[in-house]
Amino acid sequence: MRSIPNIFAIARREFFIRARTRTFLLGTAILVVAVVVVAMLPVITRYVDRSSTERIGVWVGVEDMASDPVADLERLLNTSAGGTSSSSSTPDFTVTRYPDLASARQAVIDGDASAALGIERSTGGELAFTLYSEDVAPGVERTAVFATTSLAIADRLDRLGVAQAAQAGLFAPANLEIAWPDPEHAGSGPVAGQTGTDYLLGFGLSILIFMLIVLYGNWIAMSVVDEKSSRVMEVILNAATPLQLLTGKVLGVGAVALTQYAAILVAGVAALLAQGPIASVVLGDAGMEVALPAGLTIGMLLLLGVFGVLGFLLYGVLYAAAGSLVSRQEDVQAAVMPLALVSTGAYLIAVYSATGLLEIRDSWMAFLALVPFVSPFMMLSRVTAGVATVPEVVIAIALLVASIAIALWIAARIYSAGVLLYGQRPGLRSIWRMARTGM
């Protein structure tokens, strides 16, 4: 038999016919642009941020301070201002010293500075600060309180005779560790606010797989119905077996999907990697941190590939079988409805567990994640959340592969009976008979 060449010829036709259409080219282009824009968001936001750098004018009416209050202020405002971390290379604040209070206040009036700060020493010996501003945003005020308090404490320590070097130790941040409340739970835990992005990543990957399966599954079903409604099916059936036709079609549409996803992925990763160079050109500094989103490792991408491909194959062959049961495009949606419901349900469970609406560590969730129709959606978010063990992933993949073989066998039987069936949609009983007898 010439199975392989026929499957290849059918897949090849399917691929070129689909990939040549304007809708596909345009859709891919739009997605690529969207992904590049999203990937470039950090650069874009920083570019926008840069123009909003606050300039603070300072008049220092005190001579006896141990260190330069201007430099200290700039450091304080930019390092920990109200908790906003400043790995940013563009400072949020620039601090300029003015020779007298009047000129500093004039700078605010003229718009050269957004606020002016006067530093004096009150009669009690404490430092006294006055902020001159036309409108004080709550964040700015909080930042100012924090920075000035620090200056005041440093000044008190100076006056108590504590050396500068010793002060550095006093101001060092405390050691705070964050861990899972559940003692059973091993691993790095929800440390350093990283789980937020992990959950987000699991959520995103579930969406990617869901789109892949539903969108391209529909394509497969429509393509089958197209061959039935144009009656070209019988011409092809003389040359190729239903199994070859089914396999070729799923692989052909799969190749189209793969092409689109590869284009998007390559564009996205390239945009992420290009962020550094682009940032240095646009923002004028080279120090920008370049990194893929936390958790998006090569291994994770591979796992996305494995579950994406296997999930697509499982649903794809069943979408083809569903398509073979109807003979008009109008009936496709009704025919694939059961598959759409199953995939949507599995997807929602995955999303709810990734975002915390369902408890991802429950044992029934661990069980669900092994079920073939569900695992493509759930396993990735479990891996990113760090709750999936290696044996679980391996078992899920093995079950998926086995169920694809079974689905292909059933689908081919339904398909070979369904493709010659015109007119009324068969009921469940006749579908069962087709699956049993194949004719």
Partner: protein, 313 residues
């Protein structure tokens, strides 16, 4: 030889085939005649292996039909089917590649066929932009492009104008002369009579008669007599003769049937005994259509498709 033996196939309540048996000699054009729903398409689908028979076998040259490679078979289904949004030549190349033809060879052969059917200018057009007749010619090319040994066609002449009918007929005969075996179904019995060395007539899933066309025509034992005498106008004496049925009284001549028990020579003798001159006396086999009507009933009456629950198969 294509040997179809005792095929039975049941769809739900309908016994579609009920012991279909006939042989097709290799290198022949064979007509498969029957009303809609008589079982022609089901028989062809079983021969091609799209459907499994409940009982019976199909052999080609003493080997199970399914055991032959797919390129042995060419099939033109009754419902015309092409990829409507695909270009004609590209489409034909695709069909060829399914039978293992290299693309370049499929390309060249398809070009030759398009040339021959005078539709070269449509090679790069989408199939949907072609007229029905031209689509049908593309369909025929798709059927024979891979040079199959046995070609089964369901109603190949329906919807063609006389010029294209002539083109297709000559293609049939050329393929036959190259040793191919052609089986086609048709309603147009005069077409079958003209083209087919042998025929089979199927009705309600059973073969009514089969064999060389001439034998089938003689199978009723009846003969057609065309008679003209100088004393035309009075034909009541003819009607009174035993074993004679007047089928077409006419000004020019009268056509009558003499059934198996009678003898056309008796008619001649009776005519001469009546006096006057016998201007014309001709004995012929009945036409296929007459045989068909006698065996199956008038086509018009049988045009109803058997209602198969769940659609036609």
């Amino acid at each position: 030889m294509l040997r179809i033996d005792s095929l039975r196939k049941r769809f739900d309540q309908v016994q579609a085939l009920d012991g279909v048996t006939f042989d097709v000699e290799p290198g022949q054009v064979f007509g498969f005649l029957g009303a809609n729903g008589a079982g022609k398409t089901t028989t062809m689908r079983i021969v091609l292996g799209f459907l499994h028979a409940d009982e019976g076998t199909v052999m080609w040259n003493d080997r199970e039909a399914r055991a032959w490679p797919r390129r042995t078979w060419g099939y033109m289904p009754e419902e015309r089917g092409l990829y409507l949004r695909m270009q004609v030549l590209e489409q034909l190349e695709f069909y060829g590649s399914l039978y293992g033809m290299p693309r370049s060879k499929a390309h060249d052969l398809a070009r030759d066929w398009l040339e021959r059917f005078r539709i070269s200018e449509y090679a790069d057009r989408r199939a949907e932009s072609l007229s029905k007749g031209n689509q049908q010619k593309i369909q025929f090319i798709a059927t024979v492009l891979h040079d199959p040994d046995v070609i089964l066609m369901d109603e190949p002449f329906v919807g063609l104008d006389p010029v294209n009918v002539a083109l297709l007929k000559s293609a049939f005969l050329e393929l036959r002369d190259r040793g191919k075996t052609l089986v086609f179904s048709t309603h147009q019995l005069e077409m079958a009579e003209e083209l087919c060395e042998s025929v089979a007539i199927i009705d309600h899933g059973r073969i009514v008669t089969t064999g060389p066309t001439r034998d089938v025509k003689r199978s009723t034992g009846r003969q057609t007599v065309r008679l003209a005498t100088s004393r035309d106008g009075d034909i009541d004496w003819l009607r009174s003769l035993p074993h004679v049925t007047v089928t077409r009284p006419g000004e020019d001549y009268t056509e009558l049937h003499v059934d198996a028990a009678g003898d056309p020579q008796d008619v001649l003798e009776a005519a001469m005994a009546r006096g006057g001159d016998v201007l014309r006396f001709e004995v012929a086999d009945p036409s296929l259509e007459e045989v068909f009507v006698e065996r199956v009933g008038a086509l018009e009456l049988e045009e109803t498709t058997l209602a198969v629950p769940g659609g036609t198969r």
